[in-house]
């Protein structure tokens, strides 16, 4: 018998994140390192505990090893209480057979038992690929006050951007009357953030209805939400003010990291918890030149650093230059190497005098320029040159 939890959060963390290329070759998108010491999933997990939600189910499917290990017993997020805490939910075999999670709604459907044991009033659905800080308890309060069946968090985007998002058209009081998935001519700028609060009795019913519909893709955005709307359920949009970014692409991941360095962007890393590695403070050598950068524990820097983020245990040797780049844990930049507008993955090795990426100003044809990405543990030989926008997935010789 589990004590009742008023709210249970379900965090969708099974996506491959194929648009992140080599970065998600061996790990799920929510486990991608972010912001010098975090992984993306630290943000929703920290939000949960900071909102007073103590029961969190994490739905894993694609490359779950690192993600499961990282979440562990949930202790870094205080999600290891006796009564609830964090639980990794992977697809399983049952009497009726075994099936993968075929869609976001199906993933929740397959874990109805997990939710029911807490006998909750509300279920919050979250995704594991967004960077933002949010107090979900305010949204739940809004949901209760409106007596809604479903509340969807929305953020204002510009009219040009609106056609890239799922747009919600609402009445003045926030009640939704229409969904517009990536509209060519958006009627509103309220973009769905992929954060839903449901009254559990309603969600339960529609999950079962959706599961029984053979033509459904079992997806929240495509199937369950439109079904609820057409059935006349009360659905509201909840306006979120603050920083929010989908980090599903290389460019947006790079942008979101750079946003941390921008003092005018309101993304405060306070109260974001993570699993800490036991490393000494970082050391800046006699030749170090460092400006507008973020540096984690265990780094050894003797080169030049500008507009960059160094994760734990990174080495930047003398005369090396790192500009506008993200260097993930344990990577080594050797003497005289240049890393420009790039993402270098964990434990990669950039040889002496190698040049990775380029400065946008040097490329009048903007299509030739982009963020270069070096995969996990790869070795870039001394003096090698990696073009901007390249996605490197094997060792590079000269």
């Amino acid at each position: 018998m589990y004590p009742k939890q008023e709210v249970v959060a379900m965090l969708l963390a099974g996506g491959q994140g194929s648009r992140l290329g080599v970065l998600t070759k061996k790990l799920a998108k929510p486990a991608v390192p972010f912001g010098g010491k975090y992984r993306i999933i630290d943000f929703p997990l920290s939000n949960c505990i900071n909102s007073g939600i103590e029961a969190v189910g994490v739905l894993t499917q694609y490359q779950p090893l690192l993600l499961n290990e990282y979440i562990g017993n949930g202790q870094p997020w205080d999600l290891d209480s006796m009564d609830a805490g964090v639980t990794c939910l992977s697809p399983y075999q049952a009497v009726e057979g075994a099936e993968w999670y075929s869609g976001t709604a199906n993933a929740i459907y397959q874990n109805i038992d997990y939710i029911e044991r807490y006998n909750p009033e509300y279920v919050v659905i979250l995704s594991g690929d967004h960077i933002y800080k949010m107090d979900y308890s305010k949204m739940i309060k809004f949901h209760k006050k409106r007596g809604a069946a479903c509340t969807i968090a929305v953020i204002d985007v510009s009219l040009e951007e609106a056609s890239r998002f799922g747009i919600l058209n609402t009445y003045e009081d926030g009640e939704i009357y229409e969904f517009d998935e990536k509209p060519a001519h958006p009627k509103s700028t309220k973009a769905s953030m992929g954060i839903y609060v449901f009254s559990w009795d309603k969600l339960r019913k529609y999950l079962i209805d959706d599961e029984n519909n053979e033509n459904s893709d079992h997806d929240f955005g495509k199937n369950v939400l439109p079904l609820m709307l057409s059935s006349g359920e009360k659905m509201f949009a909840y306006q979120f003010e603050g920083y929010w970014k989908d980090v599903g692409t290389i460019d947006s991941l790079w942008d979101a990291n750079m946003d941390i360095l921008n003092p005018s962007i309101p993304l405060d890393l306070k109260d974001v918890y993570s699993r800490n590695r036991m490393l000494p403070p970082h050391h800046l050598g006699e030749n170090a030149e460092i400006q507008n950068s973020l540096v984690a524990d265990g780094c050894e820097v003797d080169g030049k650093l500008e507009f960059s983020i160094l994760f734990s245990g990174v080495k930047v040797a003398k005369d090396a230059e790192v500009n506008s780049s993200i260097i993930m844990p344990g990577a080594v930049i050797e003497e005289g190497a240049k890393v420009l507008y790039s993402i270098v993955s964990e434990n990669a090795h950039i040889g002496k005098g190698a040049v990775v990426g380029g400065i946008p100003e040097d490329y009048p044809d903007r299509d030739q320029w982009g963020v270069a990405v070096i995969g996990d543990g790869l070795n870039i030989a001394d003096g090698a040159k990696i073009a901007p926008k390249a996605m490197i997935d094997k060792d590079v010789e000269v």
Binding site: G35, L279, P281, N287, Q291, D297
Partner: protein
């Protein structure tokens, strides 16, 4: 990996020689290296040596220590049947010296399943594998193994113990506070002894009311027991005075010392705080320094240790300083050879200068 060794750590060591830093804390909880407390070193060394049962004996001023070590989980010393136990005086069971302290915890020691005990001071920073010392102890069929290092006696060390082992390591002469100025085999305050022998010797001392650990337990038994010296050849920082403290912290600028002390295969653990990585602003210039997490640096820093959560404003200059956690150095302040304790605010434009061999010290929570 469990060993046949348990640990005893003394938290209060030579505190009257360094009253500034220990006014409100034990020697064991003195901050070191920007993110550690001295006790992290013996605790991590014991944990990395597979020691599961550790007694931490604290006589006074131990609130900050208890806050730091908590359940011992950070050092993996919080297991179902073993882990860290903190011993403080209570009721009629107070103690002023080591022999009384061990007598005071004799119930704990008697019930240990481990047959051997490492006893250590907490005023050091080093990465020591106690298993090697234990092997040496067993190979020599020793009763007591004392660890020593060939070094000059630090000026302010009280009652230094100097051992004179023969070529086999057997100690036939042990002097307390001898008038030696050159390098000598100086005890570094860690030893291994069989649990039963320890209890027996402590009982003898208690009944004879001879309560000086070095004199009565070690020196008086030099002919009766097989006491061996184990030479420690690695790096060790011993802290006995403010000038030691300053100099030993500054040694962390040496990469070889850092690599040895913070060996990734034998990490030094500490209580974790969820600080963000440190942020360097557009006006920052930082060289030859060690910086922990959670700092925001917009000024100039040279040859300094900057602990977690420190803020250094625009135009501020910090040279050869140790800045402890959560201090705020306001815009334009100038500091040189200063040790600043926790939570201090240096207001705009202040200039403070100490001397390299005699650093200026600013008390915890001051506003300058």
């Amino acid at each position: 990996m469990a060993t046949n060794l348990a640990g005893i750590i003394f938290a209060n060591v030579g505190e009257y020689n360094i009253p500034e830093l220990t006014a409100k804390r034990t020697m064991a909880s003195v901050p070191f290296g920007g993110k550690y407390r001295l006790v992290d070193f013996p605790l991590s060394n014991m944990s990395n040596s597979g020691i599961n049962n550790v007694a931490l004996i604290a006589r006074n001023n131990f609130h900050s220590l208890m806050d730091h070590v908590g359940s011992g989980k950070a050092w993996d010393l919080s297991k179902r049947h073993s882990g860290l136990t903190i011993f403080s005086p209570y009721g009629g069971h107070s103690f002023v010296n080591r022999i009384e302290a061990i007598f005071h915890i004799k119930g704990y020691v008697e019930h240990l399943k481990e047959e051997y005990v490492v006893i250590t001071n907490s005023n050091y920073a080093a990465n020591i594998n106690y298993l090697k010392v234990h092997e040496f102890h067993l190979e020599n069929n020793a009763d007591i193994t004392l660890m020593y290092k060939n070094m000059a006696i630090p000026p302010k060390k009280e009652a230094p113990v100097v051992l004179y082992p023969d070529e086999t390591g057997l100690v036939k002469k042990l002097l307390i506070n001898p008038p030696v100025e050159d390098e000598c085999p100086l005890s570094i305050g860690s030893m291994i002894i069989k649990r039963d022998l320890l209890l027996e010797l402590v009982r003898q001392c208690m009944s004879a009311n001879t309560l000086d650990f070095a004199k009565n337990l070690l020196q008086d038994n030099i002919d009766k027991l097989r006491i061996f010296g184990y030479e420690y050849t690695g790096h060790i920082s011993l802290v006995h005075s403010m000038s030691d403290y300053f100099a030993e912290n500054m040694k962390l600028m040496d990469k070889d010392i850092r690599d040895e002390l913070f060996n990734p295969l034998r990490p030094i653990y500490t209580k974790v705080r969820d600080d963000a990585p440190s942020r360097y602003g557009l006006t920052s210039s930082v060289k030859g320094s060690l910086v922990a997490q959670g700092c925001v640096i917009d000024g100039t820093v040279e040859g300094s240790i900057i602990s977690k959560g420190v803020r250094i404003g625009k135009g501020a200059s910090v040279k050869n300083c140790i800045i402890m956690q959560d201090c705020k150095i306001s815009d334009g302040a100038k500091l040189e050879n200063v040790v600043i304790d926790k939570d201090v605010v240096i207001t705009e434009g202040r200039a403070l200068t100490g001397c390299e061999t005699y650093p200026m010290y600013i008390e915890k929570q001051s506003i300058v």
